[in-house]
Each structure stands twice: as C-alpha cells, then as structure tokens.
C-alpha cells in the first residue's frame, strides 16, 4: 500500500514539470522578443530630434531679432563683450541663445569704430544646435549737428535747373535706398529759381525753401516745405597746413594698363590707344598740395589711407579715374575750375550699382569757380562748393549729393542721393540746431565755415543742454518704463547669410572636390554634407 502511494506521487510530479518548463521557456522567449523590438523602436527619439532642431532654428531666428535690436540701441555692445560674445546662454522659449558679433572688415571682435558686423546666433534646444548668421551695417545716429546741407540731394544758394532727361533720385545701390522722398533745397527767394523742366518724373522730390520765398519759386508743382529759420551757407573748411607737394611724375608705379586693367580696354567707353603705356599713381595717407591736377586716360590715381589733396588751380580729368582702396578716404580742396569728362572717382568697382559711402570722398570748392562734369563721368562723392556753379551734362552722375551756388542738370545727367548722408540738419525742425522758439541757435549763427573744432564745441554745448532737458523727461520715463520702449536711434541694415545650415560650406566642399578631381566626374556623396 505504501509502495503504490509513492508511485502515484512520482507520476503526478513529472507531468507538472514538463508543462512548467514549456511555460517558462515561452515567457522568457516572449519577453526577450518584446525587449528586442522595444529597443529597436527609436521613433520617439527621432521625432524629438526633428522637433528640437526645428524649434532651435526658430529660436535662432528670434535671437537674430534680439541681436538687431541690441545694435539699434545705445547699448555699449562695442566694448561690453567677451571675444565678441554679447549675449551668452540667454533663455528663450525652452532654448538658449548665444549671440556673437565680429567686425566684418577685420574678422575680429568689435571696437569703437566698428560699423559693419557679422552676427552669429547659436541656439540650442535639447542638445540640438542651429546657427543663424547675418551681415549687418549700423548707421549711427551720433550726437552730431549737421550744418552742411547733406540732407539734400541738391542744395543751391541761387538756383536749381533741371532740363532734358536729367533726374534727381534715390541711389538704388545705397543700403538705405528704400527711402522714397528726396529733398532739394534753396536759399533763393525769387520766382523761378527752381526750374524742374526735365521730362523725367520729379514726384518723389520735396523742395525746401525759406518762408520768405516767392510762391512761384518753382516752375512746376512740387511738394514744398519751409525751413524753420533762414539757415547760413557756411564756407568750406580750411585745408590743412604744411601739405607735402604732390608730384605725379615721381610716384608713378609704371604698371602696364594691359596687365593691370585689361578689361577696360575692351569696354565700350574706352577710346584711347590700347597699346598706350599707362601709369597708376599710388597716394598714401597724408596731406598733399599740387598746383594743377590733370589726369588723362594714361594716368590714374589710387588712394590708400586717409588723403587730403589741395589743388590750388584747376582740376581736370579726361577719361581718368581716382579710385579708393578699402577703408581709404579722400578730401579734395579745389581752388580753380573743375572739368571732368568721362571720368570716375569712387571705389574700385566703377559700376553705379556698387555702393561706397559718399562721405568717404568730399570735394570742396573754395572760390567762385565753374564745375563741369560731363560725358559718362561718375562721382561717388559729396560736392560742397557754396560759391561755385556746378553743371552736369551728358550721362554724368553724382552718387552722393551737391551743395553749390547754382546747380544745372542737363542731358541725361543725374544726382543719385544716398540717404545714409541724411542726419537731419537744417531740414529737421527737431534738431538741436534750433532752439525752443524754432530759431537757429546763437552758437550756430556764429559759425562762418565748416570748422570741425568749432562745430564739435557747439555740439557739446547743444547736447549738454538737451541732456539737461532729458533728465526731467527721464524722471517721468522712470515711472512709465513699461509703456515706453527703449530708444533705438541707430539704423541697422542686415542681410541673412545662414539659416539653420550653412550652404556656403557645402558649396566650398563641392568646389574643393571639383578642384581635387579636376576634369573628372566628381561625385557628391552623403559624407560631404556635414
């Protein structure tokens, strides 16, 4: 009986183990399979990455707006930075941005003189980083008074005459070409002092005269405004003392034009013998004096650095050119007549579509002289000759502005005004030039010429007065800061270079690949992307 019981027990135990083993094996295998499939499913991580990258791009774009806003204000970003970083790890919508600026001309961190910068905004969200890069030009609204009529495309003491198909308009190459209205002005009071008889439209012109001027001052219907007071037309500044005599023969570098500027010979406008030996004169920083300056097609001048040139007598150019190297400036004081035929003064790119700040080339006329700019001449400059008659003929163009006694535009000549020159000046009734009664301040009245030191001391007086007034205003602002936005006196013009990913790097790699396998079919693979 005992033996039977034992046998029955053993039989029952063996059956249970088989089933248990199968079940355990199934569970373990199933669990492993699920774990394996689970580990392979990275959809969530991928979609998180994609979302983070998109968010980071948008945050970087917002960071660029912040950077532009900073440049527009009076903040001391030029000095308060660490290796160009002006904002670091600033939190914005669950991301962090770092803004850095570099001087685009030196590729170094900005200094007090920096006005062109490369802005780089790096934004990161959950480890995903995106870049946005922009080139920006800051047009400072400095505390300067403007008394040289640079707010006017054309300003004439006595008369402005436009005939033929001549035009006064915006210079489209200027970074501020979006401005529409172009100002012209005169101190004349007699009827018909402003003759706008060109067949070209003058609807964007605005004429500014003194209040006593005749109601018939212009021959055509033009939007007219008045000065708040009768402004003075100051004499040009004195030329520097102790200039070095300039000899065009001694400094010739003797380049063959065929080597240096061969493309010009095939230009439609070149009329000289292409085999002619050409000489380029390099003029370094300094003050120079010359009796007469005559440049023909065989000679050209390149300005390197800050140059002041005093021409005691006439200045004549026929098919000549004066070009400025990068960052160079030229100030000319002309004592005699000016006759420029099919000539050029400006940056190296002679196209009228190529911009240069016209204030880098200032030409002053001192005496009662006649200026004639004809042919296909182009001057990218400011002309200030209060006692001279300036005449533009042919298809000549002044890209900048003219202030003279009489200004005559004929043929298809043009004055292309650059709004970067506009600092308010006499046309701005809010300018500190005017006192609280609207009259020109006594300090400005005492000026007789564009003397920089005198103007600076007047500026200090006027802006100190204004600052005192602002203290009272600021106390009110302090109470209402939430309603009063930060002042943004400076204009910033910028262009986007990189958004998210830098296409320029891809293109550079493609170029290198082509160079490496020159004349072979170079394949672009996915390895080149990053």
């Amino acid at each position: 009986m005992k033996t039977k019981n034992i046998q029955i027990h053993k039989h029952f135990k063996r059956r249970g183990i088989a089933m248990m083993l199968v079940m355990v094996a199934v569970l373990v295998t199933g669990g492993m399979a699920l774990a394996y499939f689970g580990s392979r499913d990275n959809s969530f991580s991928i979609s998180t990455n994609v979302v983070s990258a998109s968010q980071a791009r948008i945050v970087a774009e917002s960071g660029l707006d912040i950077a532009i806003s900073i440049l527009e204000t009076n903040s001391d970003w030029r000095s308060s930075h660490i290796d160009g970083v002006i904002v670091e790890n600033y939190e914005i919508n669950s991301g962090k941005i770092t803004i850095s600026v570099l001087d685009s001309e030196t590729s170094l961190p900005p200094t007090e003189s920096t006005n062109k910068v490369i802005i780089t905004v790096a934004s990161s969200i959950d480890g995903r980083t995106q870049l946005t890069e922009a080139n920006a030009t800051i047009i400072s609204d400095d505390d300067e008074i403007d008394v040289d009529y640079s707010e006017f495309a054309v300003f004439a003491k006595n008369q402005i005459i436009m005939t033929g198909a001549s035009t006064i308009s915006n210079w489209q190459a200027s970074p501020m070409s979006t401005q529409q209205v172009v100002q012209i002005g005169t101190l004349a009071t007699n009827p018909m002092a402003v003759k706008l008889e060109s067949i070209m439209s003058s609807k964007n012109l605005q004429l500014r005269t003194i209040e006593d001027a005749s109601s018939m001052i212009s021959t055509s219907a033009v939007n007219t405004k008045f000065f708040a007071d009768q402004p003075p037309f100051l004499n040009p500044p004195n030329p520097p003392s102790n200039p070095t005599p300039l000899s065009l023969d001694n400094q010739e570098s003797g380049n063959y034009q065929s080597m240096d500027n061969w493309a010009n010979w095939f230009g439609k406008n070149h009329q000289s013998n292409p085999l002619h030996f050409s000489k380029k004169i390099m003029v370094d920083s300094g003050s120079y004096i010359i009796d007469k300056l005559t440049l023909h097609s065989s000679k050209s001048i390149e300005i390197i650095g800050d140059v002041t040139m005093i021409v005691e007598d006439d200045f004549t150019m026929r098919y000549g050119n004066i070009t400025l190297a990068k960052d160079a400036t030229l100030t000319m004081h002309i004592g005699g007549d000016v006759n420029l035929k099919s000539s050029y003064i400006g940056n190296k790119n002679q196209s009228r579509n190529s911009w240069i700040d016209p204030s880098r080339v200032r030409i002053y006329g001192a005496d009662n002289t006649n200026w004639k700019i004809s042919g296909f001449s182009t001057l990218k400059s400011e002309i200030y000759a209060p006692k001279s008659n300036v005449e533009l003929q042919g298809i000549a163009a002044v890209c900048g502005r003219i202030a003279a006694k009489d200004v005559l535009l004929s043929g298809a000549s043009s004055v292309l005004y650059d709004h970067t020159l506009d600092q308010g000046g006499f046309a701005d009734h809010e300018s500190p030039i005017y006192d609280e009664t609207g009259a020109i301040s006594n300090e400005v009245r005492k000026l007789t010429q564009l003397d920089n030191s005198a103007i600076e001391s007047i500026q200090n007086i006027l802006f100190d007065n204004q600052a005192e007034c602002n203290v009272i205003d600021n106390s009110w602002h302090a109470l209402n800061w939430k309603q009063i936005p930060t002042e943004r006196p400076h204009k910033v013009i910028y262009t986007l270079m990189v958004f998210g990913a830098d296409a320029r790097i891809w293109e550079e790699r493609a170029r290198q690949l082509r160079f490496k396998h020159y004349n072979t079919a170079a394949a672009w693979t996915d390895n080149q992307w990053n």
Partner: protein
C-alpha cells in the same frame, strides 16, 4: 506496468502544444519584423523629409528673392556678395528637379580657380529683368562652369508653388513632393519656406 517515459498520447499532445506555440511565436515574430521594417522605412522617410526641409531652407530662407520659376526649377538670387544691388551670375542658385534621375539638386556657377580677377569679372555677368535664367544655366553648363550638389535623391515627383505670380515679389515658396521607399512611394509632403528678408534687384 513500467511507467518510465511518456506514452504516445502524451508525446503527441506535448509536440502538438509545442508546435502550436512555436507557430504562434513564429507568426508573431514575422508580424513584428514586418512592422519593424515598415516602421524603419517610415522613420527613414521622416528623416529624409526633415533633411530635405533643412537643405531647402538653407537656400531659400537667406535668399534675397526668387528670380524665375519654371515647372521643375526655381532660380534664386542667393546673396549679394558684390554689394551691387544687382544680380551677378555667381550670386544665382538654381534648384532643379530632374525627373529622370529623381533628384533635386542645387546648381551654381563655379569659375576655374586659375582664372585671373579680370577674367572672373568679365565672365561674372550682371543679369537684368530680361535675363533668361534657364538659358543661362544651359550655356554655363555647356562651358563646364556649373557645380551641382544633390539635395535629395529618390524623389518621385516634385512641384513648386509661390505666393505671388510675379516671381520677383514672391516671399513664400512651397514644394510638394514624394519620396521613394522600400514599401513604395511616401504620401505627398509639402515644405513651405519663406524668404526671410526679401529684396529685389535694383533694376
């Protein structure tokens, strides 16, 4: 009676159960693998879509303006490196869909490195409102002065839209496309990218 070992019935039942469970596991594994491959394919397509957006955005967003639009090509004024407010040929980018190779590529002018600045300047022509950019591309391709980067491959179709009939005024570009995948074509995707700082050439 000797009760060691298993009876035929027991063995048959055990093998039967094991076979049923094995079949169930095998079919489950097959279904899971299939689903995994399908998911992988979907993920790859999603990544390619995101990459396409980034690559197109890198060209469209910083561009100054759209110069021309054809059925299978967009022409952009990518930047103004000459600061001339006018379009020079080295500032132009053509984004072109090639239905034969099923690729979307960007093309740009690349002059030989051994050219002098004068040669470069004369070849780097200035375009205007009358310029035929498609013809220009063909001419430069004939002279072997065009570089090409493939942005996306295995693209089965691609169509372009803009938010303005006048291409120079367009500020928004839409690209509708589908991609080839292991399990066939993806559904149509649309990328909508804006020209952030629109600027037309001066003429």
């Amino acid at each position: 009676m000797n009760r060691r070992g298993l009876s035929l019935i027991e063995m048959t039942i055990a093998i039967g159960i094991t076979a049923v469970i094995g079949l169930a596991i095998a079919s489950m594994m097959a279904a899971a693998t299939n689903s995994l491959a399908s998911k992988d394919d979907g993920r790859q397509s999603a990544i390619r879509l995101a990459t396409t957006q980034v690559r197109l955005g890198a060209y469209i967003a910083p561009s100054n303006c759209l110069l021309d639009k054809a059925n299978e090509m967009l022409t952009f004024w990518f930047n103004d490196i000459n600061e001339s407010n006018s379009v020079n040929i080295d500032e132009v980018r053509w984004i072109q869909y090639d239905s034969a190779s099923k690729t979307l590529s960007v093309k740009f002018v690349n002059f030989p490195d051994d050219w002098t600045p004068q040669m470069f300047e004369s070849a780097n022509i200035e375009c205007n409102s009358l310029t035929d950019y498609s013809q220009l591309l063909e001419e430069f391709e004939l002279n072997n002065h065009i570089e090409k980067i493939t942005l996306v491959d295995s693209m089965t179709n691609c169509k372009f839209w803009t938010n303005n009939i006048n291409t120079l005024e367009a500020t928004q570009v839409s690209i509708r496309f589908s991609l080839e995948s292991v399990y066939g074509e993806t559904k149509d995707a649309i990328i909508d990218e804006g020209i952030r700082l629109h600027q037309s050439p001066s003429d």
